[in-house]
């Protein structure tokens, strides 16, 4: 146990040193490109574009609802339907996170993999059934 751990550690150290770092170069270039593009877009806009006031420009971007000021009527209640939809979206997102790697190695995992992913999806849909039956999907 100890021995295998020690050799494993040595292998790890070798990978980390010198030549192994080469594979991170594309990542560094990507970061630099992303940063450059962001700076370019943000800085160039005010320089060349006309600056005209428009109320829509100040609204929250892709956030669905105005976080403030909170509605006074109805005891300051928030639209729950929005959050339910957002949460379901996240759930399906997470399901995809697990389905993609499964799909890639479905061959190698064989029947066991099918059983496992079926069980995962079945469990996942329990929550959806609950939301559906309780009217979380009714949009009015």
């Amino acid at each position: 146990m100890l021995l295998s751990q020690a050799t494993g550690g040595a292998a790890l150290a070798q990978e980390g040193a010198g030549p192994g770092l080469d594979m991170y170069l594309p990542l560094v270039i990507l970061f630099a490109l992303a940063l450059g593009f962001a700076l370019f877009s943000v800085l160039l806009g005010p320089l060349v574009g006309p600056s005209r006031f428009n109320k829509a420009k100040l609204s929250a971007y892709e956030c669905g609802i105005e976080p403030s000021p909170q509605p006074v009527v109805g005891g300051g209640r928030m639209p729950v339907a929005y959050y339910v939809t957002a949460m379901l979206f996240i759930l399906f997102d997470i399901e995809m996170v697990f389905l993609f790697p499964y799909a890639v190695s479905a061959d190698a995992l064989g029947l066991w993999g099918v059983a496992a992913i079926t069980l995962f999806i079945a469990t996942f849909f329990i929550a959806d059934i609950y939301v559906w039956r309780r009217g979380g999907l009714d949009w009015n």
Binding site: G9, M23, G74, G110, I126, I129
Partner: protein, 524 residues
């Protein structure tokens, strides 16, 4: 560059071996929780309560039977299963038994509808407190029966938490046990604002604690190259790696675990949440969350950090002393019974930590026994608290408890017995628990800490006895609270707690033997 990935496609990936018999109790609990959610979705409202109560009680009993069947011929040194992520060994089995028994009592308290018409839970949690609709639902006898599947999810998370053999599994289990609890704290029928405040506070602070825990995992992974407890232990033994990552990771991990165990100075949420949550949920949290958190803490310290115990012991000494001091001294100033028991739980967390730090067989079995004993006592204590009521709900202010022995001698006697058990008076389980924990700490060379712990036990005993004096030697207030006659469920839960407290105090040998049945499974 893609070759390694392409090469993998052809060959089969080795699938993990699963010992279904060993993890059957967890599977039963989590499976029944899923069924409970489906029942919520399809059953009409009036059928939900009886079906959910039946399902939940049946599930806990079935999981207990499965556990009992497995314990009979379980390998002595324990097994690891699911690719080594879950260890089913003697401490895990003991903690599972403890958790299931405590959860049975807690579910009985949760299910009770005799003390308050409709139960302690709100009919429609989505309605804002104080609105017209909210006033209209006061008279409703419905409740959010989602609390039953949520309880089972939390219980399943707790059981996994105590058996998790790697840190990622432990983190997932931590979330599975925490998220339902956050929700359940906000479901009180009465005093809904303070209940929702408790839920939000617990959620925000709990999220922070989870972040600490996760950050600690990242550090430890950086140190050991693995999240397995056994691999971390192997990495700490005889390497020349820098210890910085190890101890930074250890510290952050401990913050997450100590938060869940409500150990001072990470206790600040405890009084507010215990006070605001519905009392049956407070009972569930105080008993079961404590067991789960200390179960995981024991496993992490014993399996992963045994060989570095001299480096971290000083830090945990300080934490234990702070916890005992905060619990005992601030407990003296409390005027609310629920807050007082919350501070008592912080002091008890300090005592538990004293035993946990003794990395010996006696330390392990002593701490396990203490958890069992404390869980049942505190469960019954919250059961009693739910019975003393006035027009606005539970009368938790201490002044309302004055002269209670004249109104209800039986209730006062039961509560006195439980308080004496919390104080650690002989012939109660509290005494045996403190004795085994402190003697384990003594034999592991922590005599000064034991002396400090004894001093704080004495300080804490004062505020327990103050309530006893208040109940027996004060005149009852003219407009004082009434003592509700409990229904079968609450009676059963309180009786369970009191009987176990007495039994463990008089005949502790059986439970001590079981607690000392074996150590953690060390193979990965």
């Amino acid at each position: 560059m893609l070759n390694p990935f392409l090469a993998q496609q052809g060959g089969a990936i080795e699938t993990p071996q699963i010992d279904y018999a060993a993890i059957l109790p967890i599977l039963i609990v989590l499976g029944a929780a899923c069924v409970g959610v489906l029942l919520e979705a399809f059953l009409p409202k009036h059928q939900r309560w009886p079906v959910q109560v039946g399902l939940t009680l049946l599930t806990i009993v079935a999981a207990g039977v499965a556990l009992g069947a497995y314990v009979g011929d379980a390998p002595e040194q324990g097994i690891t299963t699911l690719s080594g992520t879950v260890a089913v060994d003697a401490p895990a089995l003991f903690l599972w038994g403890t958790l299931l028994a405590l959860a049975l009592g807690a579910v009985l308290l949760i299910a009770d509808r005799s003390v308050e018409p409709g139960g302690a839970f709100v009919a429609q949690a989505g309605i804002s407190p104080g609105t017209v609709q909210d006033r209209a639902q006061v008279s409703s006898t419905g409740m959010q029966t989602e609390v039953f599947p949520l309880t089972l999810f939390a219980l399943g998370g707790m059981m996994t938490f105590t058996a998790a053999n790697d840190l990622l599994t432990m983190f997932i289990a931590l979330e599975v046990l925490s998220l339902p609890l956050y929700l359940m704290c906000g479901l009180a029928r009465r005093r809904r604002l303070i209940s929702q405040e408790a839920a939000v506070k617990y959620f925000l602070l709990g999220a922070f604690a989870s972040a600490f825990f996760l950050y600690g995992i990242a550090m430890l992974y950086g140190y050991a190259g693995s999240v397995r407890l056994a691999d971390i232990a192997a990495a700490t033994a005889g390497t020349d790696r820098s210890d910085t990552l190890l101890f930074a990771g250890f510290g952050l991990l401990m913050v997450g675990l100590l938060f869940k165990g409500s150990v001072g100075p990470f206790h600040t949420w405890t009084p507010d949440v215990y006070q605001g949550a519905p009392t049956p949920i407070t009972a569930f949290m105080a008993a079961c969350t404590k067991v789960a958190a200390f179960g995981a803490l024991l496993r992490v310290l014993f399996v992963a950090f045994e060989s570095t115990s001299w480096e971290w012991r000083g830090v945990l000494w300080a934490v234990a002393i702070i916890s005992m001091a905060v619990g005992a001294i601030l407990g003296l100033t409390q005027t609310d019974v629920k807050r007082m028991i919350a501070y008592s739980s912080i002091a008890h967390a300090g005592f538990l930590l004293v035993g946990t730090m003794a990395i010996t067989d006696e330390g392990l079995s002593g701490t396990l026994f203490y958890l069992l004993a404390y869980g049942f006592t505190t469960l019954a204590a919250f059961g009693v608290i739910s019975l003393v009521r006035d027009a606005s709900g539970e009368a938790t202010h201490l002044s309302a408890w004055a002269g209670l022995s004249k109104r209800s001698p039986l209730l006062a006697a039961v509560f006195t017995f439980l308080l004496l058990a919390l104080a650690g008076i002989p012939l109660t389980s509290g005494f045996v628990g403190k004795f085994v924990v402190f003697s384990a700490a003594l034999s592991d060379g922590m005599a000064p800490l034991v002396v400090i712990a004894l001093v704080f036990s004495a300080v804490a005993a004062f505020f327990y006895l103050r309530v006893v004096v208040l109940m027996y030697f004060s005149e009852p207030a003219p407009e004082g609270p009434t003592v509700s006659v409990p229904g079968a469920f609450t009676t059963a839960a309180i009786t369970l707690g009191v009987v176990v407290t007495l039994l463990l105090g008089v005949l502790p040998a059986f439970a001590l033997d079981w607690a000392g049945a074996g150590g953690f499974a060390l193979s990965s």
